[in-house]
Structure formats: structure tokens, C-alpha cells
Amino acid sequence: MSAPSNVDIARRMQEYEAPKKKRNKINWVPYLMIAPSVFIVVAFLFYPIGTVFYYSLFNYDLSAPYYNGFVGLENFKEVFTADKMFLPSLLVTLKWVVTQVGLQLVFGMAVALLLNQAFKFRGIFRAAAFIPWAISGVLASVMWSLMYNEHMGVINDLLMRIGLISESKAWLSDVSTAFGSVVIAELWRGIPFFAITLLAALQSIPNEMYEAAKVDGAGRRKTFFYITLPQLKNTIILTVLLRTIWEFNNVDLIFNLTGGGPAESTTTLTMYIASLAVHGSNFGYGSALTVISFCILLIFAVVFLKVTKYEKEEAER
């Protein structure tokens, strides 16, 4: 075994320097490496999204193929003029997203601040606090339905013991409590996500800033509003945006806990689309609704990033 010659080393080093200087010699290696990922993402994410726009212009009902065909903007016209579910579901969506994201942010921040303190067994408490993040929506639905149940539910029993209610309630099938009940169950699963991202961001705030604030005599409240919150701003904006999109589309809990009822009080737009799709009715119409919900989210995202001035502040600071 002879040591590699200088020429060898030079060749290898050159091989390593990926970007080739000469234009006519394209290095194909990185393209080959990303090709499978690009293919699968384009074919099974981007292409399907594209077809939604296409199908939204068609009648496409698997059970009544006789009427299938191009209908132009008929589906959209029907959504806006004849669909009695569309507007109410949009309002429920608004209520759902605002309460979910708002409460998740507040409680997630509280949990993150709590778990950022120094105390014994912090690791165990962190793990315990984050566990619901790993639980599926369906599982969470089962777990909470066992607790909400009118006949065997523990929530009724506990509330009756404290004396808050006098007789068992059917939390999930009563119009006045169904929405709130689903919200609480979803909070259980959603708070950890905010807590995790905010905790990660909290840990990246340099300690010197807090020391300086202490020297300047800032109290806990001032430190939070003048140091912690501004430092977390970009994380909060991005997490709120991602979470809004996520909750807008999240139907696992609603689907399994209430199925959108009672009296459609928990039917969000996505829940409406999902139930149409699952029951296999007109896919063209479902696609039109999907296109509309996509546009709503797109407009929201653009406006949200504009209004919150994401990253711009970062550069100025």
C-alpha cells in the first residue's frame, strides 16, 4: 500500500469541490441525489394539488357517471349561491381556528416559560408535558370521548362531586357544549406543539440579555414584555401561521368526536369537505370547495406575513 501521490490528492480534492468551474461540465451527482425526492413530492403532492383545480371545473361523481363532464364555474356558483352549509361552516372554521390557535399560543407560552425554569426532574416533566403531541387525533378522540360520555364519563362524575352540575350531561351531543368540549380535547393535543417550539426559541435567547435587564432593575413582567416577547417574535409568527393552516385543516378530532354535529355546530369547512369526500359524493364539487379553502388560506398567509412584518424587523434590529 503506497501513500497516495500528490496528484491523487489533488484529483480527489478537486473531485470534492463540488461546483465545477467549467460551464460545460455539469456535476450530475447532486441532481441524481435529489431526483427521487423531487419525483415523489411533485407526483404525489404538487400534481394532486394541480388536479384539484382541474376537477373543480367538472362534474365528477363516481356514483352517477352519466352526468360527469365539464361544467365550467358551475360548482363555484353553486357554493356561493345555493350551498346552505358553506357560510355556516366558514364561520365555525373561524371560531375554531381563532380559539384553538389563540389558546394554544397562550397556554403553550405558559408551559414553555414554566419548563424553562430550573428545577429538579425537569427532564421528566418536559417529557410528560409533550407526550400528547405524539398522540393521534383519533386516539385523543377515543380518550376524551371516554371522559365526556354521558353514562360512564368521569367528567360528569367529577363535576357532580364538586357540585358544579346536578345531573349527567351529554357534552358532545348538546349544541351548547359540543364545540367547547372538542376545543378542550384539541387543546390537550395542541398545546405541546407550541410549548416545544417556544421552549426551543427561549433557550436560544442569550442569558446576558436577562442579566443586563436585571442590572437595569427590570421586574419579571418588564423582562417578559421587553426581552422575551420581542426575541420570540419570529418564532411566534411562524408557529401561529403554521398552526393556523394546520388547525384549519384538522378534522381528526371533530370527525371522531362529533362528526360535525350536533346541528352542524362543529362542522368546519374542512370537516364539510372531508365528509363529502368520504361519503363519495360529487368530487368535482368537493374539489371546488377545496380550491376555495386553499384560496382563503393563501390570502390569509400573505396578509398575515405582511401585517406581522415577518423577518423585516429582524434585519433592522
Binding site: 480527489r12 480534492m13 473531485e15 470534492y16 463540488a18 455539469i26 441532481y31 441525489m33 435529489i34 425526492s37 423531487v38 415523489i40 413530492v41 404525489f44 403532492l45 400534481y47 394532486p48 394539488i49 388536479t51 384539484v52 376537477y55 405558559a110 414554566l114 428545577f119 416533566f125 410528560a128 408535558a129 409533550f130 407526550i131 405524539a134 398522540i135 393521534s136 383519533v138 386516539l139 377515543v142 380518550m143 371516554l146 371522559m147 360520555n149 360512564m152 416545544i196 417550539t197 421552549l199 426551543a200 436560544s204 408557529t239 393552516i245 385543516n249 381528526d252 370527525f255 371522531n256 362528526g259 374542512t270 372531508a274 369526500a277 368520504v278 374539489s287 377545496t290 379553502s293 388560506l297
Partner: protein, 275 residues
């Protein structure tokens, strides 16, 4: 005196509230799973089963079909993880070690996918897989889950690879390794923790995903755990004991995986959101 008060108000009390809120649903599910049929609906409520039984688990596993659901979830989960890991290591390596034309476009494409509403996919993917004849085939779920996960895991992986100093690889090449050898003997061993974390995140996702699995499966023998649970919940006469036991069966792997990987969670997931 004042300090201890403060400690109780800002730390111990909130911690206790948080813990009770987080843990109570687990406790109640496990409690229900071990109760006999009659005891589940008994009043006053039994907070600790007086006559604990494992009947519910036996019924859920063999009669209701959780053995099948579990097997299906495992097949889909493990295959997706394998596919996602191979593809995201490749693309993550390209992103972190090469400069190439279109790299930025590729990154933007990955970012865009994070904003695609997942619920948008149910109708078109159903139609695509129907045309391919893959409805109720595990393959449809494996491909779909991989497509959904790859953007995130690619970014995650390129971060892990960037953390391996380039100089180590260069040194190995100077010592006579070619690129493949240096990857195998130098980079790969250092990547193992990152690969494990990525794999666990992917597995948890596939283990939990519901809506796409519901849409792309129409035979009970092909149900994954979430679809099976949902199906059982929707039945006319729900067997609550077996439902709770089935939940525990679905729960255990997710919780164990989570506890195993949670150390990476704050840095991994948090870092990815921070971007």
C-alpha cells in the same frame, strides 16, 4: 417565606395543574381498559378497578381485529420510514454538501409543501390511486406518507449532515477513501442519532395519520390503527372496554417512541420551525 410562596405560585402549582391535565386522559383510558364490562358503567365511578381484568385486551386483539390493524400500521410505518430515510439522506446530503444550480428552487419547493393543506389531498389522491388500482393497498399509504414527510425530513437531515464537519470527510479522502467509503465509514456513524430521530418522527406520523388512511382504504382487513379505532367508535353498540384496550394497544408504541426520541425533539422540531 416570601420566596417559598413565590416558588409555589410560579412553579409547583402550575406544574401540578399541567401534569394533571396532561396525564388524566391516559389514566382514565387505562383505567377503563382494565375494567369489567359491568363496572365501566357502574355508579359511583370506580377510580381504581375493583376487579381488574385483561379480557378487554384479549377481545380487542383477537375479536375486534386490533391484531390486524397493528400489523397493517407496522407494515406501513416501517416501509415509509425506510423509504423516507433513504431518500432524505440522499437529498439532505446534496443540499448540505453540494452547490448546484436549482438548489434554491429545490429549497423553496420544500418550504412550499409545508403550506399545502393536507386535507386538500384527499380527493385527488383517492382518484390517483384509484386509477393506479392501489386503493386499500399499503403501497398507496407508504407513497403518500413519504411524499408528505420527505420535505421536512430532507431539511432535518441536511441539518444533521451539515453538523458533521466537512474536514472529517476531506481528511478521509486524503487518506485514500473515495466518496462512498468516506460516507460509509466517517459520515454515517456520526449521523446515527439524527437518523434515529428522523425515523422516529416519521414513524409517529404514519402511526397517527387518519384522514388519508381513511380515504385510501376501504377494506377492514387493510385498516391501520387510527382507521380501525375510528371505525369501532362509530359502531352502533360501542364496546367501551375493548375500545379503551385497543387505544392502549395503539398508544404504547407511540408513547415509547416518543420518550425515546424526545431529547431530540426540542432541538429538532424547534429548530426546524425556527428555520
Amino acid at each position: 417565606m416570601n420566596r417559598t410562596m413565590d416558588r409555589w405560585l410560579t412553579l409547583r402549582l402550575p406544574l401540578a395543574v399541567m401534569l394533571v391535565f396532561t396525564m388524566f386522559p391516559f389514566y382514565w383510558t387505562i383505567n377503563t381498559a382494565f375494567k369489567m364490562d359491568g363496572d365501566i358503567v357502574k355508579r359511583p365511578v370506580e377510580y381504581i378497578p375493583t376487579a381488574p381484568t385483561i379480557d378487554n385486551f384479549v377481545i380487542a386483539w383477537s375479536n375486534v381485529g386490533f391484531a390486524t390493524y397493528f400489523k397493517n400500521s407496522l407494515i406501513v410505518g416501517v416501509s415509509t420510514v425506510a423509504l423516507v430515510l433513504v431518500l432524505s439522506i440522499l437529498s439532505g446530503y446534496a443540499l448540505s454538501r453540494y452547490k448546484f444550480k436549482g438548489k434554491r428552487a429545490f429549497m423553496v419547493m420544500l418550504l412550499c409543501t409545508q403550506f399545502i393543506p393536507r386535507a386538500m389531498l384527499i380527493i385527488p389522491l383517492f382518484l390517483i390511486f384509484k386509477n393506479l388500482g392501489l386503493i386499500s393497498s399499503p403501497l398507496s399509504l407508504i407513497i403518500t406518507y413519504a411524499a408528505v414527510e420527505i420535505p421536512f425530513t430532507t431539511v432535518l437531515m441536511s441539518g444533521f449532515i451539515s453538523n458533521v464537519p466537512k474536514e472529517l470527510e476531506e481528511a478521509a479522502m486524503i487518506d485514500g477513501c473515495n466518496r462512498i467509503q468516506s460516507l460509509r465509514h466517517v459520515v454515517f456513524p456520526l449521523l446515527v442519532p439524527g437518523i434515529v430521530a428522523t425515523g422516529v418522527f416519521t414513524l409517529i406520523y404514519t402511526w397517527n395519520e387518519f384522514l388519508l388512511a381513511l380515504m385510501l382504504t376501504n377494506q377492514q382487513s387493510k385498516f391501520t390503527l387510527p382507521v380501525g379505532l375510528s371505525y369501532m367508535m362509530g359502531e352502533f353498540n360501542v364496546n367501551y372496554g375493548a375500545l379503551a384496550a385497543g387505544s392502549v394497544i395503539a398508544l404504547v408504541p407511540a408513547v415509547l417512541l416518543f420518550i425515546y426520541a424526545q431529547k431530540h425533539l426540542v432541538s429538532g422540531l424547534g429548530g426546524a420551525v425556527k428555520g
